[in-house]
Amino acid sequence: MSRLPRTTANDRKSYTQMTQWSGYLGLILQGALVTIELTLMGSVLALIMAFLAGMGRVSRFFVVRAIATAYIEFFRGTSIFVQLFWAYFVLPFAGLSLTPLQAGVLALGLNVGAYAAEVVRGAILSVGREQYEACTALNLGRWQGMRHVILPQALLVMLPTFGNNAIELLKATSVVSLISLADLTFQAQVVRSQTGSTLMPFLSVLIIYFALALIISWGVRTLERRMARGLDGVRI
């Protein structure tokens, strides 16, 4: 006599479903890794472009200002879809073939970098004139003053908006599913078409995007707190 519960057909079915689900969840997590990778690499490129173009905008030299302005206006003024398609489908005609990941990083970095460049410019201009005058009175060169006095103060102003930009970039990574890069959104659609379930894949990607955005917010806030240390008279 056995008191152990018997495995019924019904149980077996739910077990197979569970292994299937975990397999599908695995797919979605793989997609999440691609999204994270794109976000990190895109952010690095965006940051580089933001500082190049943002500082270019306040350059003494007209040509530098003009190039920076053209870059910013062009990449803010055209759709990121179109930029991605150009990077992936059109550049090969110019002899430059990119992998989907490279094309994605390029489009995302250049696009978000254009927005962030205006943040850099605004933050540099927000540092008071008296700080520039102190630099002159102490005979610091333009670059020395920028590097040691202006930028460290401007960085604190940039950070909150950089956080916004990074979250925008994270969400914009979903466009790469259009060039068949298997990111979070792409995998959700794969799972949906294979299982016929809509709620489960879309709910999981919703949660994952949100969690990633929260991590970015938290990271930027922590950084902000650390950098603001001492500025308000409280030494922590």
């Binding site: 008296e130 700080q131 102190a134 002159t136 006095v149 001492g230 500025l231």
Partner: protein, 261 residues
Amino acid sequence: MPAPIIKVDAISKSFGTFKVLDGLSMQVMPGEKLALIGPSGSGKTTILRILMTLEKIDGGHIQVDGEQLYHMERNGQLLPADERHLARMRQKIGMVFQLFNLFPHKCVMDNVTLAPMLTKGVARAAAEKRAMELLDMVGLADKAKAMPAQLSGGQKQRVAIARALALSPKIMLFDEVTSALDPELVEEVLNVMRKLAAETDMTMLLVTHEMGFAHDFADRVLFFDRGRIVEEGKPDEIFRHPKQERTQSFLKKIIAAGHRV
């Protein structure tokens, strides 16, 4: 008689349609302590800012320590100064501002050592040793690690003085350095300046509304009005026996406002 260390020759400067300096000329001897007084908008701060190269001039010439400030001599011609020439000339001059202009993200020590290390290539150890001497001189040796936001106005201004001194300028410009301070903090800054005057042979130009201090401190007082020097002389002459009517009415107003002369 030694040559003047500053020779200002017919400087004019306008902001828009407002003529701040109207063909101003003056000379300052090495080691001289000069007080610049006058109503606001009379051009006294502007000439200090021009000497620090914070403003551009519209016309005229300035000679500092035997060299043109805004011009360079090239093959017998006077050309507008380039950035390199200005940087070299700025080494001779230091300035302390009304609102201190400390770097808020750097501690007191770093505020003082930054410029010597960057512009003169002084090693950190040597720069910090010199900074400690200067902080000691202004009575703030114990605040070396403090952030500017932790200091009172008077302490900030004393740090600013130490910071300017760290570059060992021949000429120091003080632009209303006590105007932004609470009354009880004014004296600690003035004391530092007295000490500086007693212990060094630096040339010092100060724009001030502290008439009592100007009287005791200065070798010579210049009274500015409408972009020109209306009257100049020994402190006693200017403060006790002003000849010009404009000087008299200015001093009357200042005394009426409660300033000690």
